[in-house]
């Protein structure tokens, strides 16, 4: 009876233990899986493209010339050709306010340009009206009401009031300006291109005096009729009508410096208008085989979107060019999905590098410039008269000739992330060619985020390789020495090295960045001669050991010989540091940094890959050392004895017997070291300059994936693109470590099988 009871108890204990162990095992797997899923869920939205959330249609009285809306897309305005303006609710379509620009009289609006809140309208009788439209928010009983404001700021005549010219309609207008200065280019029906500038000049007494300049640059255009340059892509077409440039579009940048004129011939003329009195044509380039029909800048006024009558859409940008007379030339950067009909309107986002294009046939496309993607294709099947892109880049407004207004609410949270922008070369604004660049945030709002992970992956690999180059030999040979040669009285070495592993990496990083980096910079030349000195000193030590009398060497002090080396090696290190200056003068003419720069063109960074290699090496060495040493110590003594008894030297035994037998463990030690180096954050963070450059050069820094996460997290708003890209970086780290560890384990098991039957 008693035995039955104890049997039952044993069974119970067995079962409990079994369940407990199973549960913890499953829980571990579950936690890892959950972590993986969590990270993945954070990354997943990056993969989703743009989508339409809602599509609403309202009726206006007629097709508008220009439309816009407030920031919240609650109130829209439409400017009609007859000079009347209507504000209406974007929720129910009801008209909130009507406004007529009395001053315009019977003039009809024929062209317009928009700059911030200013709407510059050109009329059929040569007038230019500047309208200021803005919205203010009023809070009443916790309710937000949006109040529209409108005022006419200026009304001028393009040709001037005092001359007798018959007024000509303004066909195209481009204008930019601020409180102090404004510049407007107009193209009139009679084919003239005029430049109107006004500037407030503050006199000594603080009184502003408005200075106006009017310049007719039509003659300039006529002079430039012979093509100055042409792109290879479009081919040179010399059969242009010699006497006329048919202007189809105008665009002016907010620096009030560069005016681009699109022509019927498919050409783009770049006019520098910095000097209002003396504009110069810098470049005339064929951008299309078909007439240019629309021009527009992207946010930042660097990339120029060009649409032609065939519906092709490209972006162009000024790129440094030595062949060009003024050092720059226009280059085609990105190509987007084309429309089926002529491109009539381009609306850039004021948030990011997205833009909307519309064609007269009713197709509307949403593009993102950096990623060279067309995100949405919309269609209204009627003639588009006006197009607007909401200020938060989350809505598109379009009016058609029948007086309908279409509103699309879109969700497009991460347009800048694609496989190509993450892992491919991208031609960014301000770059001379497509490149891998990581630069997530910039100083200005119009900054183009550069989110290539390639430099970071490169940095990770670079740091890992240099660290392993340093740590693997030292770790393995150190383990071999400690396990096979070291005198038993010195076995304390092992726990000491193991203690090193407990050193927080912050301390290693701190030491590396603040102490080691300046030190290495100071003694780098001596590091070059140091190996030679050490080899020489070891040779001397061996020689001294040989000629020393047998006395005192001790019969059994096997492994102690190495201690004799210590003073020699210390001497060598000290000697080479002392000779550093002399060597530097002799070999590098006084300054090795200068020499590096002159001879190899490399720049020496104080916090460089050597420093990281050292510091991270120190983090990795204890790992590799401990695991390898354990395995090597556990190689059966009988095998070592067998080898020694066969007359093999201890060294031969170590390499031929111990190392192969311990190789599975050594292999996994290296892999674990690899994992540590890949994921190491603090050391890389503190010991490099964290510059995301791609250069194998030993004396440059780099930025690793893990360190990048630490660097950028404070810059990354929750749920934003950068935030998710950082999660993607961690997913990459996670998956890499997972794959490496799994692979290491599989290989280790295979190797272990081979050596297991000892």
């Amino acid at each position: 009876m008693k035995t039955l009871k104890s049997l039952k108890r044993r069974k119970f204990t067995d079962k409990t233990a079994h369940w407990l162990i199973t549960c913890s095992g499953v829980a571990t797997i579950f936690v890892i899986l959950a972590l993986f899923i969590f990270i993945f869920l954070e990354v997943f939205p990056l993969l989703k493209g743009a989508k339409i959330k809602k599509n609403t249609v309202f009726s206006l009285h007629q097709g508008a010339v220009c439309i816009g809306a407030d920031e919240h897309m609650e109130i829209a305005y439409a400017i009609y050709g007859n000079g009347s303006i209507e504000f209406f609710s974007l929720i129910d379509g009801s008209v909130i306010r009507k406004h007529d620009i009395q001053e315009l009289g019977n003039s009809h609006i024929t062209s317009f340009d928009k700059h911030k809140n200013l709407h510059i309208l050109g009329t059929d009788d040569g007038k230019i009206a500047t309208l200021f439209i803005h919205f203010s928010e009023v809070f009443e009983d916790g309710k937000r009401t949006i109040v529209p404001h409108i005022s006419l700021q200026e009304l001028v005549r393009a040709e001037g009031a005092d001359n007798d010219y018959e007024p000509f309609a303004i066909k195209h207008i481009a204008s930019k300006g601020d409180e102090d200065a404004a510049l407007t280019a107009v193209h009139t029906e009679n084919g003239r291109l005029l430049l109107l500038s006004s500037e407030i000049e503050t006199s000594l007494f603080g009184e502003g005096e408005k200075r106006e300049v009017k310049k007719d640059i039509t003659p300039l255009l006529k002079k430039s009729l012979k093509p100055i340059s042409s792109t290879s892509g479009a081919g040179t077409d010399h059969s242009l009508p010699e006497n006329e440039v048919v202007i189809t579009s105008l665009v002016l940048d907010h620096f009030m410096e560069n005016l681009y004129v699109g022509a019927n011939s498919g050409e783009l003329i770049h006019i520098n208008v910095r000097d209002k009195e003396e504009p110069v044509i810098l470049e005339r380039i064929k951008v299309s085989d078909k007439p240019v029909t629309a021009l527009g800048f992207l946010l930042g006024d660097i990339s120029l979107v060009v649409g032609d009558s065939d519906g092709n859409i490209n972006t162009w940008m000024q790129v440094r060019d030595e062949l060009s007379s003024f050092g720059w030339s226009l280059k085609k950067i990105h190509t987007f999905q084309s429309h089926n009909g002529p491109v009539t309107a381009i609306a850039p986002s004021v948030r990011n590098k997205c833009f909307v294009t519309a064609s007269s046939n009713g197709s509307i496309h949403l593009h993102h410039a950096t990623s060279e993607r067309t995100l949405l294709n919309l269609n209204i099947n009627s003639v588009v008269t006006a197009l607007a892109f909401s200020q938060k880049a989350n809505g598109i407004l379009v009016t058609d000739s029948t007086g309908k207004l279409f509103r699309w609410d879109i969700s497009n949270p991460h347009p800048e992330v694609t496989m190509k922008t993450l892992f491919g070369k991208v031609w960014y604004e301000g770059y001379e060619k497509p490149e891998y660049v990581w630069q997530s945030t910039g100083g200005t709002d119009d900054f183009e985020p550069k989110l290539s992970l390639v430099p970071l992956i490169f940095g990770t690999i670079k740091g890992t390789i240099y660290a392993l180059l340093f740590a693997v030999p030292i770790g393995i040979f150190g383990a071999l020495y400690t396990s096979q040669f070291l005198h038993y009285s010195l076995k304390i070495v092992k726990p000491v090295i193991e203690l090193m592993a407990a050193l927080p990496s912050v301390i290693l990083g701190f030491l590396a960045g603040l102490w080691l980096a300046p030190l290495i910079e100071k003694i780098l030349p001596s590091l070059i001669i140091m190996p030679l000195f050490i080899v020489l000193s070891i040779a001397t030590a061996i020689f001294v050991w040989k000629i020393l009398p047998a006395f005192g060497k001790g019969r059994y002090k096997h492994g102690m010989e190495a201690l004799v080396l210590i003073p020699f090696i210390v001497g060598a290190i000290f000697g080479s540091i002392c000779l550093s200056g002399i060597f530097e003068t002799f070999a590098f003419g006084g300054d090795y940094r200068q020499w590096l720069l002159n001879v190899t063109g490399l720049h020496y960074d104080q916090r460089n890959a050597v420093v990281v290699g050292f510091a991270m090496g120190f983090a990795v060495i204890p790992l590799i050392f401990t695991i390898s040493e354990d395995a090597m110590s556990n190689v059966p003594k009988s095998l070592v004895s067998a080898s020694l008894a066969l007359g093999a030297t201890p060294w031969q035994t170590a390499v031929k017997v111990v190392l192969p037998a311990a190789s599975p463990a050594v292999f996994s030690a290296v892999m674990i070291g690899f994992g540590r180096a890949v994921g190491e954050t603090m050391i890389v963070l503190m010991a490099t300059g964290n510059t995301p450059i791609m250069d194998w050069n030993l004396f440059n820094g780099f930025r690793a994936l893990a360190a990048n996460i630490a660097v950028e997290i404070p810059e990354a708003p929750f749920g934003g693109t950068l935030y998710r890209v950082l999660f993607l970086a961690s997913l990459i780290l996670f998956v890499t470590t997972f794959i490496v560890n799994t692979l290491a384990e599989v290989i280790r098991q295979k190797m272990k099988k081979k050596y297991s039957k000892l």
Binding site: Y488, R555, S641, A645, L646, A648, T649, V657, K757, L758
Partner: protein, 255 residues
């Protein structure tokens, strides 16, 4: 009584300490060339210690001390000028438990020659065949030379170890209880082989099995508590022991 040949090893006043414990006390005797010399005695009496002194395997043990001298062909092997690896090439050793390397049979046998720097395949093949033939294993494994040495039977493994030792062409082969882990059939094979071996080599064997000593050896030393009690021609020692202790031991009154 067998004719005593030239002594190849002289052991003179040998004392051996493990730390402070005296494990061998005043050992004095000679080992004859091309004969089989057996060490018998109760366990712990120092047989292994003594045999390990002959190729300085004791050097691997921490904290040991030796006094007196051992001469092989007149040369003191504990002289500081002695090259230990050279000595071990001349004095091969086979251990109690078979300890083949986790490599193929072939690689096990040619390990020593490879360490010596022999690289020529044909030469190594020759050495391997000769050594395995001597170790009476050739016919059994010649088709399996490239099978792992860990995949053959214990008796075969031990003979691989013997082949591995004699591939070095040593002058002396030391065997420390080579059959203790083997079954009687494997033991018999090894004993037959030892008798063959002595034509070319001096063999020293430690055994706790008196029958084995009686069967294969020419001379036998009986050890007790670290002392050499009696050393004589094998037949002499087993039939007419001079010491009471020897007689007690071989007649099984203790041990």
């Amino acid at each position: 009584m067998k004719k005593k040949s030239e002594p190849i090893v002289n052991i003179i006043d040998l004392n051996f300490y493990y730390g402070d414990t005296l494990a061998l006390k005043g050992i004095n005797f000679d080992i004859s060339e091309k004969k089989i010399t057996a060490f018998i005695g109760p366990s712990g009496c120092g047989k292994s210690t003594l045999i390990r002194c002959l190729n300085r395997m004791n050097d691997l043990i921490e904290n040991v001390r030796i006094e007196g001298c051992i001469k092989i062909k007149g040369q003191d092997i504990y002289d500081p000028s002695m090259n230990i690896t050279e000595l071990r090439k001349r004095v091969g050793m086979v251990f109690q438990k078979p300890n083949p390397f986790p490599k193929t049979i072939y690689e096990n046998v040619v390990y020593g020659p490879r360490v010596l720097g022999i690289k020529k395949k044909s030469l190594l093949d020759d050495i391997c065949e000769k050594a395995l033939t001597r170790a009476a294993l050739w016919t059994e494994v010649k088709d399996r030379l490239h099978v792992s040495a860990l995949e053959i039977s214990g008796g075969q493994q031990q003979r691989v170890c013997i082949a591995r030792a004699i591939a070095m062409e040593p002058e002396i082969v030391l065997l420390d209880e080579p059959c203790s882990a083997l079954d009687p059939i494997a033991t018999a094979k090894i004993e037959d082989m030892l008798v063959e071996l002595k034509k070319d080599y001096t063999v020293v064997i430690v055994t706790h099995n008196m029958q084995q000593a009686a069967r294969v050896s020419d001379f036998t030393g009986f050890f007790m508590m670290g002392e050499l009690v009696e050393y004589d021609d094998t037949t002499e020692l087993f039939t007419k022991p001079k010491k009471k202790k020897t007689e007690d031991y071989i007649t099984g009154r203790f041990g």
